[in-house]
Protein backbone atom coordinates (compact mmCIF):
# COMPACT_ATOMS: atom_id res chain seq x y z
CA UNK A 1 0.00 0.00 0.00
CA UNK A 2 2.77 2.43 0.95
CA UNK A 3 4.35 1.82 -2.39
CA UNK A 4 1.56 3.92 -3.89
CA UNK A 5 2.24 6.80 -1.51
CA UNK A 6 5.34 7.73 -3.44
CA UNK A 7 4.28 10.08 -6.24
CA UNK A 8 6.97 8.87 -8.65
CA UNK A 9 6.00 5.23 -8.18
CA UNK A 10 2.33 6.05 -8.36
CA UNK A 11 2.68 8.08 -11.53
CA UNK A 12 4.80 5.36 -13.13
CA UNK A 13 1.88 2.96 -12.70
CA UNK A 14 -0.68 5.60 -13.67
CA UNK A 15 1.22 6.55 -16.81
CA UNK A 16 1.60 2.88 -17.72
CA UNK A 17 -2.14 2.26 -17.60
CA UNK A 18 -3.01 5.55 -19.29
CA UNK A 19 -2.76 4.37 -22.93
CA UNK A 20 -4.83 1.31 -22.07
CA UNK A 21 -7.68 3.12 -20.36
CA UNK A 22 -7.68 5.91 -22.92
CA UNK A 23 -7.70 3.38 -25.77
CA UNK A 24 -10.43 1.34 -24.12
CA UNK A 25 -12.50 4.49 -23.62
CA UNK A 26 -12.25 5.32 -27.32
CA UNK A 27 -13.05 1.76 -28.39
CA UNK A 28 -16.01 1.47 -26.02
CA UNK A 29 -17.43 4.78 -27.19
CA UNK A 30 -16.95 3.89 -30.86
CA UNK A 31 -18.61 0.50 -30.37
CA UNK A 32 -21.14 1.51 -27.72
CA UNK A 33 -22.53 4.76 -29.08
CA UNK A 34 -23.88 3.32 -32.37
CA UNK A 35 -25.45 0.44 -30.46
CA UNK A 36 -26.92 2.78 -27.82
CA UNK A 37 -28.17 5.29 -30.35
CA UNK A 38 -28.99 3.29 -33.49
CA UNK A 39 -29.01 -0.48 -33.53
CA UNK A 40 -30.53 -1.26 -30.10
CA UNK A 41 -34.33 -1.55 -30.26
CA UNK A 42 -36.61 0.90 -28.41
CA UNK A 43 -37.92 -0.39 -25.11
CA UNK A 44 -41.46 -1.79 -25.20
CA UNK A 45 -42.49 0.48 -22.31
CA UNK A 46 -40.31 3.54 -22.63
CA UNK A 47 -39.87 3.63 -26.39
CA UNK A 48 -36.93 5.61 -27.68
CA UNK A 49 -36.42 7.44 -24.36
CA UNK A 50 -34.64 4.32 -23.14
CA UNK A 51 -31.63 5.68 -25.03
CA UNK A 52 -31.36 8.48 -22.45
CA UNK A 53 -31.01 5.85 -19.77
CA UNK A 54 -27.71 4.64 -21.20
CA UNK A 55 -25.99 7.93 -20.36
CA UNK A 56 -28.16 8.67 -17.33
CA UNK A 57 -27.28 5.43 -15.57
CA UNK A 58 -23.63 5.71 -16.64
CA UNK A 59 -23.40 9.22 -15.13
CA UNK A 60 -25.17 8.08 -11.97
CA UNK A 61 -22.78 5.15 -11.69
CA UNK A 62 -19.75 7.42 -12.01
CA UNK A 63 -21.18 9.94 -9.55
CA UNK A 64 -21.43 7.20 -6.90
CA UNK A 65 -18.12 5.55 -7.75
CA UNK A 66 -16.30 8.88 -7.69
CA UNK A 67 -17.80 9.80 -4.31
CA UNK A 68 -16.53 6.47 -3.03
CA UNK A 69 -13.10 7.27 -4.44
CA UNK A 70 -13.13 10.79 -2.95
CA UNK A 71 -14.14 9.44 0.46
CA UNK A 72 -11.67 6.53 0.29
CA UNK A 73 -8.85 8.79 -0.87
CA UNK A 74 -9.65 11.27 1.88
CA UNK A 75 -9.58 8.50 4.49
CA UNK A 76 -6.23 7.21 3.23
CA UNK A 77 -4.89 10.76 3.24
CA UNK A 78 -6.01 11.47 6.81
CA UNK A 79 -4.99 8.11 8.26
CA UNK A 80 -1.73 7.34 6.44
CA UNK A 81 -0.97 10.82 5.12
CA UNK A 82 -0.74 9.47 1.58
CA UNK A 83 -0.30 12.56 -0.58
CA UNK A 84 -1.36 10.70 -3.71
CA UNK A 85 -4.62 9.55 -2.12
CA UNK A 86 -5.46 13.18 -1.53
CA UNK A 87 -4.55 14.16 -5.06
CA UNK A 88 -6.79 11.41 -6.44
CA UNK A 89 -9.68 12.72 -4.32
CA UNK A 90 -9.01 16.32 -5.25
CA UNK A 91 -8.66 15.60 -8.97
CA UNK A 92 -11.79 13.41 -9.00
CA UNK A 93 -14.21 15.67 -7.14
CA UNK A 94 -14.91 18.20 -9.94
CA UNK A 95 -15.57 15.32 -12.33
CA UNK A 96 -17.88 13.76 -9.77
CA UNK A 97 -19.80 17.01 -9.51
CA UNK A 98 -20.14 17.25 -13.28
CA UNK A 99 -21.34 13.67 -13.61
CA UNK A 100 -23.83 14.27 -10.81
CA UNK A 101 -25.09 17.31 -12.70
CA UNK A 102 -25.28 15.24 -15.88
CA UNK A 103 -27.20 12.50 -14.06
CA UNK A 104 -29.65 15.11 -12.79
CA UNK A 105 -30.19 16.77 -16.16
CA UNK A 106 -30.48 13.56 -18.14
CA UNK A 107 -32.81 12.30 -15.40
CA UNK A 108 -34.98 15.35 -15.95
CA UNK A 109 -34.93 14.89 -19.73
CA UNK A 110 -35.91 11.29 -19.19
CA UNK A 111 -38.55 12.16 -16.61
CA UNK A 112 -40.41 14.74 -18.67
CA UNK A 113 -41.66 12.32 -21.37
CA UNK A 114 -42.07 9.48 -18.85
CA UNK A 115 -43.70 11.26 -15.90
CA UNK A 116 -44.93 14.34 -17.70
CA UNK A 117 -42.77 16.60 -15.52
CA UNK A 118 -39.13 17.55 -15.37
CA UNK A 119 -38.83 17.16 -11.66
CA UNK A 120 -40.43 14.93 -9.09
CA UNK A 121 -39.22 14.73 -5.50
CA UNK A 122 -38.46 11.12 -6.09
CA UNK A 123 -36.10 9.55 -3.54
CA UNK A 124 -33.38 8.93 -6.11
CA UNK A 125 -33.50 12.36 -7.70
CA UNK A 126 -33.57 14.04 -4.29
CA UNK A 127 -30.61 12.04 -3.00
CA UNK A 128 -28.73 12.83 -6.19
CA UNK A 129 -29.41 16.53 -5.71
CA UNK A 130 -28.09 16.37 -2.14
CA UNK A 131 -25.00 14.50 -3.32
CA UNK A 132 -24.47 17.31 -5.82
CA UNK A 133 -24.39 19.80 -2.95
CA UNK A 134 -21.96 17.59 -1.01
CA UNK A 135 -19.63 17.64 -4.03
CA UNK A 136 -19.94 21.43 -4.29
CA UNK A 137 -19.14 21.77 -0.59
CA UNK A 138 -16.03 19.62 -0.96
CA UNK A 139 -14.79 21.61 -3.95
CA UNK A 140 -15.59 24.98 -2.35
CA UNK A 141 -13.87 24.07 0.91
CA UNK A 142 -10.86 22.71 -0.92
CA UNK A 143 -10.05 26.04 -2.52
CA UNK A 144 -11.30 28.36 0.23
CA UNK A 145 -7.91 28.52 1.94
CA UNK A 146 -4.83 30.44 0.97
CA UNK A 147 -2.75 27.57 2.33
CA UNK A 148 -3.64 24.74 -0.03
CA UNK A 149 -2.59 22.06 2.47
CA UNK A 150 -5.20 23.26 4.92
CA UNK A 151 -7.79 23.07 2.17
CA UNK A 152 -6.74 19.50 1.48
CA UNK A 153 -7.13 18.41 5.08
CA UNK A 154 -10.37 20.30 5.75
CA UNK A 155 -11.98 18.95 2.56
CA UNK A 156 -10.82 15.42 3.39
CA UNK A 157 -12.53 15.60 6.79
CA UNK A 158 -15.65 16.96 5.09
CA UNK A 159 -15.65 14.09 2.58
CA UNK A 160 -15.58 11.58 5.44
CA UNK A 161 -18.33 13.37 7.36
CA UNK A 162 -20.36 13.39 4.14
CA UNK A 163 -19.84 9.69 3.51
CA UNK A 164 -21.07 8.87 7.03
CA UNK A 165 -24.09 11.08 6.42
CA UNK A 166 -24.98 9.80 2.95
CA UNK A 167 -26.72 6.60 4.07
CA UNK A 168 -28.63 8.56 6.73
CA UNK A 169 -29.67 11.17 4.18
CA UNK A 170 -30.69 8.50 1.69
CA UNK A 171 -32.74 6.61 4.28
CA UNK A 172 -34.44 9.81 5.44
CA UNK A 173 -35.26 10.93 1.91
CA UNK A 174 -36.59 7.49 1.02
CA UNK A 175 -38.82 7.50 4.09
CA UNK A 176 -39.95 11.08 3.45
CA UNK A 177 -40.79 10.15 -0.12
CA UNK A 178 -43.03 7.23 0.86
CA UNK A 179 -44.70 9.53 3.41
CA UNK A 180 -45.64 12.15 0.84
CA UNK A 181 -46.02 10.19 -2.39
CA UNK A 182 -47.64 6.85 -1.66
CA UNK A 183 -45.85 5.05 -4.50
CA UNK A 184 -47.41 6.94 -7.38
CA UNK A 185 -44.29 6.69 -9.43
CA UNK A 186 -41.06 5.04 -8.70
CA UNK A 187 -39.56 4.98 -12.10
CA UNK A 188 -35.91 5.80 -12.28
CA UNK A 189 -34.81 2.43 -10.92
CA UNK A 190 -37.71 0.21 -11.80
CA UNK A 191 -37.53 1.12 -15.44
CA UNK A 192 -34.13 -0.48 -15.50
CA UNK A 193 -35.04 -3.50 -13.43
CA UNK A 194 -38.29 -4.40 -15.15
CA UNK A 195 -36.72 -4.56 -18.55
CA UNK A 196 -33.63 -6.61 -17.96
CA UNK A 197 -33.15 -8.00 -21.40
CA UNK A 198 -29.97 -8.27 -23.36
CA UNK A 199 -30.97 -5.68 -25.94
CA UNK A 200 -30.81 -3.02 -23.23
CA UNK A 201 -28.05 -4.46 -21.06
CA UNK A 202 -25.46 -4.58 -23.86
CA UNK A 203 -25.48 -0.86 -24.71
CA UNK A 204 -25.85 -0.02 -21.01
CA UNK A 205 -22.74 -1.95 -20.04
CA UNK A 206 -20.80 -0.62 -23.02
CA UNK A 207 -21.63 2.97 -22.08
CA UNK A 208 -20.90 2.40 -18.40
CA UNK A 209 -17.57 0.91 -19.34
CA UNK A 210 -16.82 3.78 -21.72
CA UNK A 211 -17.65 6.38 -19.05
CA UNK A 212 -15.53 4.58 -16.45
CA UNK A 213 -12.51 4.28 -18.75
CA UNK A 214 -12.93 7.92 -19.74
CA UNK A 215 -12.88 8.91 -16.06
CA UNK A 216 -9.74 6.89 -15.37
CA UNK A 217 -7.94 8.33 -18.40
CA UNK A 218 -8.82 11.92 -17.53
CA UNK A 219 -7.92 11.23 -13.89
CA UNK A 220 -4.35 10.36 -14.93
CA UNK A 221 -4.11 13.65 -16.85
CA UNK A 222 -5.49 15.57 -13.88
CA UNK A 223 -3.05 13.86 -11.51
CA UNK A 224 -0.14 14.91 -13.73
CA UNK A 225 -1.55 18.41 -13.71
CA UNK A 226 -1.95 18.48 -9.90
CA UNK A 227 1.60 17.20 -9.36
CA UNK A 228 2.94 19.86 -11.70
CA UNK A 229 1.04 22.53 -9.80
CA UNK A 230 2.64 21.31 -6.56
CA UNK A 231 6.09 21.35 -8.18
CA UNK A 232 5.54 24.89 -9.46
CA UNK A 233 4.47 25.99 -5.97
CA UNK A 234 7.57 24.42 -4.41
CA UNK A 235 9.86 25.91 -7.02
CA UNK A 236 8.34 29.34 -6.45
CA UNK A 237 8.72 29.04 -2.72
CA UNK A 238 12.36 27.93 -2.87
CA UNK A 239 12.97 30.71 -5.38
CA UNK A 240 11.62 33.22 -2.89
CA UNK A 241 13.79 31.67 -0.17
CA UNK A 242 16.89 31.85 -2.36
CA UNK A 243 16.17 35.44 -3.31
CA UNK A 244 15.67 36.35 0.33
CA UNK A 245 18.97 34.69 1.30
CA UNK A 246 20.91 36.43 -1.46
CA UNK A 247 19.26 39.70 -0.56
CA UNK A 248 17.50 40.21 -3.86
CA UNK A 249 13.87 41.24 -3.82
CA UNK A 250 11.50 38.47 -4.85
CA UNK A 251 9.71 39.33 -8.06
Amino acid sequence: MHRFANPTQFMRIANAIYPWVAGLAVILFVVGLPIALVTSPPDYQQGQTVRIMYIHVSSAWLMMMIYGIVAGGSAAFLIWRHPMANLVAKASAPMGAIFTGLALITGMLWGQPMWGTFWVWDARLTSTLILFFLYLGYIALNDAFEDSERGDRAAAILALVGSVNLPIIHFSVEWWNTLHQPSIMKLSGDGVKSSVDGAILLPLFLMMGAFTMYYLAVLVLRLRSELLAAKIRNARMSQVAVDAAVGQPAE
Binding site: L37, V38, P42, G47, Q48, T49, R51, I52, I55, H56, S59, P94, M95, I98, F99, G101, L102, I105, T106, L109, W110, Q112, P113, Y214, V218, L221, R222, R224, S225, L228, A229, K231, I232, A235, R236, Q239
Partner: protein, 58 residues
Protein backbone atom coordinates in the same frame (compact mmCIF):
# COMPACT_ATOMS: atom_id res chain seq x y z
CA UNK B 1 -33.77 10.25 -46.53
CA UNK B 2 -37.06 9.47 -44.85
CA UNK B 3 -35.41 6.74 -42.85
CA UNK B 4 -32.85 9.19 -41.52
CA UNK B 5 -35.47 11.80 -40.66
CA UNK B 6 -37.55 9.10 -39.07
CA UNK B 7 -34.58 7.99 -37.03
CA UNK B 8 -33.68 11.53 -35.96
CA UNK B 9 -37.28 12.03 -34.87
CA UNK B 10 -36.91 9.23 -32.29
CA UNK B 11 -40.62 8.44 -32.43
CA UNK B 12 -41.34 11.98 -31.26
CA UNK B 13 -38.86 11.87 -28.40
CA UNK B 14 -36.18 13.77 -30.31
CA UNK B 15 -36.52 16.78 -28.02
CA UNK B 16 -35.44 14.64 -25.03
CA UNK B 17 -33.01 12.14 -26.48
CA UNK B 18 -30.77 14.47 -28.48
CA UNK B 19 -30.31 17.18 -25.83
CA UNK B 20 -29.37 14.46 -23.34
CA UNK B 21 -26.67 13.13 -25.66
CA UNK B 22 -25.65 16.65 -26.61
CA UNK B 23 -25.16 17.69 -22.99
CA UNK B 24 -23.25 14.51 -22.22
CA UNK B 25 -20.95 15.22 -25.15
CA UNK B 26 -20.43 18.81 -24.03
CA UNK B 27 -19.63 17.64 -20.48
CA UNK B 28 -17.20 14.91 -21.51
CA UNK B 29 -15.41 16.98 -24.14
CA UNK B 30 -15.43 20.00 -21.83
CA UNK B 31 -13.73 18.15 -18.96
CA UNK B 32 -11.13 16.73 -21.34
CA UNK B 33 -10.34 20.06 -22.99
CA UNK B 34 -10.16 21.92 -19.69
CA UNK B 35 -7.93 19.25 -18.15
CA UNK B 36 -5.55 19.19 -21.12
CA UNK B 37 -5.39 22.96 -21.25
CA UNK B 38 -4.42 23.38 -17.57
CA UNK B 39 -1.94 20.54 -17.96
CA UNK B 40 -0.33 22.30 -20.93
CA UNK B 41 -0.15 25.70 -19.20
CA UNK B 42 1.37 24.14 -16.11
CA UNK B 43 3.91 22.20 -18.17
CA UNK B 44 4.93 25.40 -19.91
CA UNK B 45 5.07 27.32 -16.63
CA UNK B 46 7.20 24.62 -15.05
CA UNK B 47 9.61 24.63 -18.01
CA UNK B 48 10.11 28.40 -17.91
CA UNK B 49 10.55 28.26 -14.14
CA UNK B 50 13.19 25.54 -14.48
CA UNK B 51 15.09 27.28 -17.25
CA UNK B 52 15.00 30.69 -15.54
CA UNK B 53 16.36 29.08 -12.41
CA UNK B 54 19.16 27.36 -14.28
CA UNK B 55 19.95 30.70 -15.89
CA UNK B 56 19.98 32.38 -12.51
CA UNK B 57 22.41 29.90 -11.00
CA UNK B 58 24.84 29.96 -13.90
Amino acid sequence: MDAILNYLNMDGYAAWVWPAYGLATVALVGILVQTRRTLKTREREFETLKSSRRGGQA
